[in-house]
């Protein structure tokens, strides 16, 4: 039910000190409020002008048309959002690996230490290879320098050599074993 307010009620209301204080504050702030309302008005006028400007709107429409956002994109974005905690975890692990690698590569002392370790492990292999190479070079030099005719008697003489006998015993063992394995 509506309650009618008489003139006297208004006068009584205006006589209240707190109402008078509020009115005073409102009046004091009026210039500031007017400025803000004007600013909002400018903004609205600008918006309205943009909307009315066909060429600008055409350009905006072209921009929107060139963005290939459809329902699939939105669905993908939502699924990505769902996966973000896991992706973040993976990215952090990857970041650790990348930063560690960067630190190692920038650390000359660590690189030298690693190089030294690798050399330590490869040194025995290198020595073996070096030994094999010098042996082959010696054999090659001797063979090339040898102009002596090799007769069947020379071969028979070699056969007495223990190392040749050892090789031949391997050949013999191979000849005996192979047929058994293939049968």
């Amino acid at each position: 039910m509506a309650v009618s307010i008489s003139k006297q009620d208004w006068v009584d209301e205006l006589n209240k000190p707190e109402v008078q204080a509020s009115l005073q504050k409102l009046i004091e702030k009026l210039p500031d409020l007017t400025t803000k309302i004007e600013q909002a008005d400018h903004l609205l006028t600008f918006g309205q002008s943009v909307l009315e400007d066909e060429r600008t709107m055409e350009k905006v429409k072209m921009k929107v048309d060139s963005i290939n956002i459809d329902i699939n994109t939105l669905e993908a974005a939502l699924r990505l959002l769902e996966k973000l905690p896991l992706l973040l975890e993976l990215m952090e692990k990857l970041e650790t690996v990348v930063r560690f690698a960067e630190n190692v590569l920038a650390d000359e002392k660590s690189i030298a230490y690693l190089q030294n370790s690798v050399e330590e492990y490869t040194e025995p292999l290198r020595e073996k290879a070096e030994k094999g190479r010098s042996l082959w070079e010696e054999v090659q030099a001797k063979a090339e320098a040898n102009s002596q005719h090799i007769s069947i008697f020379t071969v028979l003489k070699w056969m007495k050599d223990p190392s040749v006998q050892r090789i031949l015993s391997y050949v013999q063992a191979l000849i005996e074993t192979l047929p058994k394995k293939s049968s």
Binding site: F100, N103, S110, Y113
Partner: protein, 397 residues
Amino acid sequence: MGKHYRIIIVGGGSAGISTAARLLNGMKSLAGDIAIIDPADHHYYQPLWTLVGGGAAKKEDTERSMKEVIPEGAVWVQQAVASFDPKKNEVKLENGETLSYDYLVAAAGIEIHWDGVKGLKEALGKGGVCSNYSYDYTDYTWEAIRSFKGGNAVFTHPATPVKCGGAPQKIMYLAEDHFSRTGIRDQTNVIFGSANPAIFDVQKYRDTLEKVVARKKIDARFRQNLIEIRADKKEAVFENLDTKEQSTVKYDMIHVTPPMRAPSFIRNSPLAGENGWVDVHPYTLQHQTYENVFALGDCADLPTSKTGAAIRKQAPVVAENVLALLKEEPMKATYDGYSSCPLVTGYNSLVLAEFKYGKIPSESFPLNQAKERRSMYIMKKDLLPIMYWDGMLKGIM
């Protein structure tokens, strides 16, 4: 009144540096507002000292200048701490200056009590008396092993907590291996005088190590605590911790693991508990009395083995919890007591012991780590130092 920092870290060792790096990684705005107080000029990768003593690594590779390891954004205060006033959030330095903080991280390490064994300090570094627990003497250990001609080779483990509890026996296994390779093992008695009741605390690895001790014919004597070195007579005096009976062992070389304790400025401070170590919660690493104080590493009173590997797991917990408090969020990170001991059992073999509170194995690799493996030895010697300098000290590993 001196300068104020949001975070003060006492100690620029493994714990202090890695915590500072993690804090700075987590909150870039802390740059210039984290102070690391440490008087040292150099920082050492101590886990490699065993191999230095065994002649399998160069000691120069274990040393870097403090300037090289202080993280960018941290302020290095090259001073020693004189005292703490946690009620006023202040640290007093030995130069008389006082610094104040919002949060304090105690990462002060451990103090080697060379005077804890009578005659040790005077005897060290000559006459076959060596110790891997000092950068200056690690190469003398190798000299003592290399020049050993047979007789009694004695190795000791004290009756106090030590940094890397496996180190006292690792050097013994390396020495024994060297004696075997050089043909003098038959003329050598390898004696292990240990204050501990067994070769290792964790049952799984103890089983393996007992077999190693038996295979290497090591004379292991438990509950024996070294109390004196008589260098003139080449005698080591042990006390039986149960019977208090003293016995004398002649030595031709002796590797001593000295007794250790909390640094005096920690031990005598309000931060210390009854036993002298910083009284922190075993899971959050927050001080039991002062909420804005944390501790990690060797100086923290934690019921686990004091190792660099333990620090690797403690540093993220301290950093995350301090950052949480800075952001006025609840602390979430907890430490499970993880520690690790790569037990070198010879040149090219290693048992990688990993365990947590309760001495429960907590292994990283999908294989039986109680087995002696060459791969683990390569990891310790060649990969872990790189991971330390370029991963752990940078706050990313």
